[in-house]
């Protein structure tokens, strides 16, 4: 079951114990009509498999790409998505909100 964000933390633990490279992305701040609340998680493995969500599906692709970098380098990243952002028009939030997503490696 992956009904709650806490279940996703369990998923991260399971994947890491299996020896997979794992990153955890967390919505840390939102402005305006953000689709998922602060504390929402996306768990990503080194193959790009992901569970959970940090938006309504708008920016997950971009977060997964960044997460693969984080798994590779080990250095955490803060990602910003929003309508004012250049990249937003490519992968932005259609709802018009703005979010910060913290991506860290599970070591």
């Amino acid at each position: 079951m992956l009904a709650t964000d806490d279940d996703l933390l369990k998923q991260a633990e399971t994947w890491r114990r299996e020896g997979r490279g794992v990153a955890l992305a967390t919505v840390v701040e939102t402005w305006g009509s953000a689709p998922r609340p602060v504390g929402s998680h996306l768990v990503i493995d080194a193959e790009g498999t992901f569970m959970g969500s940090v938006s309504g599906g708008c920016v997950e692709g971009a977060v997964v790409t960044e997460a693969l970098d984080v798994i590779e380098s080990g250095a955490p990243k803060m990602l910003e998505f929003g309508v004012a952002d250049e990249t937003a028009w490519k992968v932005g939030l259609s709802c018009g909100g703005r979010i910060s997503v913290y991506v860290e490696k599970v070591t």
Binding site: L9, E13, G39, M78, Y102, T107
Partner: protein
């Protein structure tokens, strides 16, 4: 995040204890604060607030940003009555991420065959409920229609911190129930905690529809402020 930290966080959750993961955003440094240690933490005031609201978020302390990942225990629904409604309710509640426990002293109802996926206690509520432990992350549903079973469960629920208490039955049935509970010494304010007739008014008829209306009401209780407006994200 260190795997050991993640494991500890998941263990605390399984043990129904709240915990807060503190991340210094600039450095990525992390530590876990257990519920029992919150009072002595340098961020005690922030942590206490975050835990009460059950909400994760960024705080600013002495010029640096810190992210708090708040983990409150899984919500637990204790259903008194191993009835048809409860059978419909189990998979829906699980889909929502809640734990369910069934209590019914009638062994023919409280059989594992009827409830293969959840703990079933074929015991009287007044005996078993204290053993299951009561906390503010618990909801009690009185679903037997039988005062002999529902009333002792209500007596226990009303003295607990449970965030939701609901009882099945018409307004007339509930009126009689309130009279009995008043006679037992419960005051009006306390009795207002009981949601009855149970569930949102969606015209539910079938057991599954009633289960849906109950879970809708529990969700509203969790997500709405008392004035009916949404708690901000």
């Amino acid at each position: 995040m260190d795997l050991a930290l993640l494991v500890k966080l998941n263990q605390e959750r399984a043990a129904r204890r709240a915990a807060v993961l503190v991340t210094e955003i600039a450095t990525g440094a992390q530590r876990l604060v257990l519920e029992k240690d919150v009072a002595h933490d340098p961020y005690a005031a922030f942590l206490t607030d975050a835990l009460r609201m059950g909400k994760s978020g960024v705080i600013e302390s002495e010029g640096h940003k810190v992210f708090l990942t708040v983990q409150a225990p899984v919500l637990r629904i204790i259903a008194i009555g191993a009835v048809h409604i409860s059978q419909a309710l189990v998979p829906m509640a699980q889909q929502l991420g809640h734990d369910v426990i069934i209590v019914d002293p009638r062994e023919a109802f409280a059989s594992p065959e009827r409830f293969p996926d959840v703990p079933v206690h074929a015991e009287w509520p007044d005996l078993v409920l204290p053993k299951l432990g009561a906390d503010r992350y618990t909801a009690y549903l009185m679903l037997t229609h039988d005062p002999k079973i529902d009333d002792p469960a209500l007596q226990f629920a009303l003295t607990s911190e449970a965030f939701y208490i609901g009882a099945l039955g018409s307004r007339k049935t509930h009126g009689k129930r309130l009279e009995r509970l008043q006679a037992m010494g419960f005051d009006e304010q306390t009795l207002k905690r009981i949601h009855a007739p149970i569930g949102l008014n969606i015209g539910a008829i079938s057991p599954a529809e009633i289960a849906l209306s109950i879970l809708g009401e529990i969700t509203a209780k969790l997500r709405l402020k008392p004035d009916g407006t949404k708690i901000g994200n």
